[in-house]
């Protein structure tokens, strides 16, 4: 990972990011994720976690502020910089977002950057696709020719992850990867996230509602609330926090109490 132009060396840096749709969603978020770090972002629904994640590769453009990835500005670095950043980042979507009309092979293949694909032979591409599927514990022989509609929810998520890692990214962005899965599949995906981060040596930024899993897996955690950063620190500090909003996320009783006292929607 290259060192940032500002000398911070952060893998991802959000600088005073503002975004409003009909109502303000992000109201000045500043946050940095260090190289090799596993970072979890918690927060109530609708507080802008996924929006912040999407600003990392310009899937959503902020109204104000900037994001840097590997020291390059996403919004002021020009088209070439954005293309480099997108090659550097793998994005795992909440509902996998597989292409319905393409087979599993084609879905994973499309994750390999075009420039890399041009340099690879057909065998190399097939090997990369199979390897990516094996990394997410799927048997290539069984799934390669299937369409997404023939896969279970958990398998779709795994294929979505395989697509994100097939380009061998330096950074992985995870948008609620366990949402909609049963506890067993959720645990399996969480194990996979840790395993991939270790094996591929990637920086991971994880948006999740699974507080327990996030605290176990990640080096640092942050919490967004009302479009602002409410907490940023170590998992232990998150658990020990006296902030009632933070407590509401770690303790069911505190959550129930918070419903009466805090404006959490």
């Amino acid at each position: 990972m290259s060192v940032g132009v500002n000398g911070s060396g952060a893998a991802i840096e959000y600088r005073n990011v503002f975004k409003a749709f009909d109502v303000p969603v992000l109201t000045g978020v500043t946050l940095s994720v260090e190289p090799g770090e596993m970072f979890a972002l918690f927060g109530p629904s609708g507080t802008g976690k996924s929006v912040l994640l999407k600003t990392t590769i310009a899937l959503v453009t902020p109204d104000r502020g900037d994001v840097t990835v590997g020291g390059e500005s996403v919004y002021f670095g020009g088209r070439d910089a954005l293309e480099r950043i997108r090659r550097m980042v793998g994005f795992v979507f909440q509902h996998a977002a597989l292409f319905d009309s393409l087979t599993v092979f084609e879905n994973v293949e499309i994750g390999i950057p075009e420039e890399t694909l041009k340099l690879m032979g057909a065998n190399e591409v097939a090997h990369r696709v199979s390897e990516s599927l094996e990394l997410v514990n799927l048997d290539p022989k069984q799934v390669l020719d299937k369409l997404p509609s023939e896969l279970s929810g958990g398998m779709k998520k795994r294929v979505g992850i395989a697509r994100a890692i097939s380009g061998r990214p330096e950074i992985l962005l995870w948008d609620e990867p366990t949402t909609g899965l049963d506890p067993v599949n959720s645990a399996a995906i969480e194990r996979l996230i840790t395993q991939l981060s270790d094996e591929l040596k990637v920086t991971s930024l994880l948006v999740t509602h699974d507080i327990v899993g996030g605290l176990e897996m990640c080096d640092r955690v942050a919490m967004l609330e009302g479009g602002r950063l409410r907490f940023c620190g170590l998992p232990g500090d998150f658990l020990a926090s006296n902030d009632p909003v933070v407590n509401a996320f770690t303790d069911r009783k505190a959550a129930t109490a918070a419903l009466d006292t805090l404006e959490i929607t």
């Binding site: 999407k54 590769i57 310009a58 899937l59 293309e83 997108r86 090659r87 980042v89 793998g90 994005f91 979507f93 909440q94 509902h95 977002a97 597989l98 292409f99 319905d100 499309i110 994750g111 950057p113 075009e114 697509r163 994100a164 380009g167």
Partner: protein, 271 residues
């Protein structure tokens, strides 16, 4: 009468509201037109830079062109029959029957062939494109494409637009031929008009330019339909309901655009 109800009934209030509504519609149409223009420009750039996959164009040619042949030919056959029947009814004992040849050929080539083929393609292809891309948009598949460094204009829009531009003139040519053939057969069966007499009548008013005019119309429709469909699909938001809304709006816009283009063609190209 209360102040509010008098304002509702006042002609000035009505005019004001009508003006505001007109302005809103005009703004919306201008906005869409501008965005469609930009889309066309980006597709043009993608084509010039050879960034459009030939495999995708062939796949779309199959879906848009080849799979539409049957429905287009059925519609064209019926158009030929209806034109011939109604023409025969109107001309009974008033005008020489050989004029029927001209009526059928000119009606089919100048108007019915291109316009009704376009309307069929709006329903079969335009609605499909908007619904497909709209679903891809709301299910984050378009975002996924961008996240892996692919341009949705190059991957999704350009192949569909190019396939439609190639398909439309060919489909209209087939529709014209089918419409004229069924019109001629219908005239023979119901009016007793022989083939030679039919073509004698057709030749009397025939201009070679008419064929070019028909194919020009087809080409313009072939550009307009997929551009509107892709534009409406890629701006879809709001889940399944949004896809339905986008598709409905898209079909309305495409149909109106075809009729407006059709109305502009005679003063522009037939004088």
């Amino acid at each position: 009468m209360s102040r509010q109800s008098s304002s509702v009934l006042s002609p000035y209030g009505f005019l004001g509201r009508s003006f505001i509504a007109f302005e809103r519609v005009a703004n919306s149409v201008a906005g869409h037109a501008g965005q469609i223009g930009l889309l066309a420009w980006h597709i043009g750039v993608a084509c010039v830079r050879l960034r459009v996959s030939r495999r995708d164009i062939v796949r779309q040619l199959n879906i848009i062109g080849i799979q539409s042949i049957m429905i287009v030919l059925i519609a064209a056959a019926l158009i030929g029959i209806v034109t011939s029947q109604q023409g025969g009814y109107q001309m009974q004992s008033q005008i020489p029957l050989y004029v029927m040849g001209s009526v059928v050929v000119e009606s089919v080539i100048l108007e019915m062939g291109p316009v009704l083929t376009a309307i069929v393609m709006v329903g079969r292809v335009g609605a499909r494109i908007t619904a497909e891309l709209g679903t891809m948009k709301v299910s984050e598949q378009v975002d996924a494409l961008i996240s892996v460094g692919r341009d949705p204009i190059e991957v999704l829009a350009a192949p569909r637009v190019l396939a439609m531009i190639i398909s439309m003139p060919l489909l209209v040519a087939m529709a014209n031929l089918t419409g004229i053939t069924t019109g001629m057969l219908s005239a023979r069966v119901t009016l007793g008009l022989g083939q030679e007499t039919f073509f004698y009548g057709a030749q009397l008013f025939w201009h070679n330019y008419d064929l070019l005019y028909s194919l020009m119309k087809a080409l313009v429709f072939g550009v307009a339909i997929p551009l509107i469909a892709v534009h409406m699909g890629l701006r879809t938001g709001g889940g399944a309901e949004g896809v339905g809304r986008s598709t409905t709006h898209s079909v309305v816009f495409m149909t109106l655009t075809i009729l407006v283009i059709d109305a502009l063609f005679p003063p522009l190209f037939l004088n």
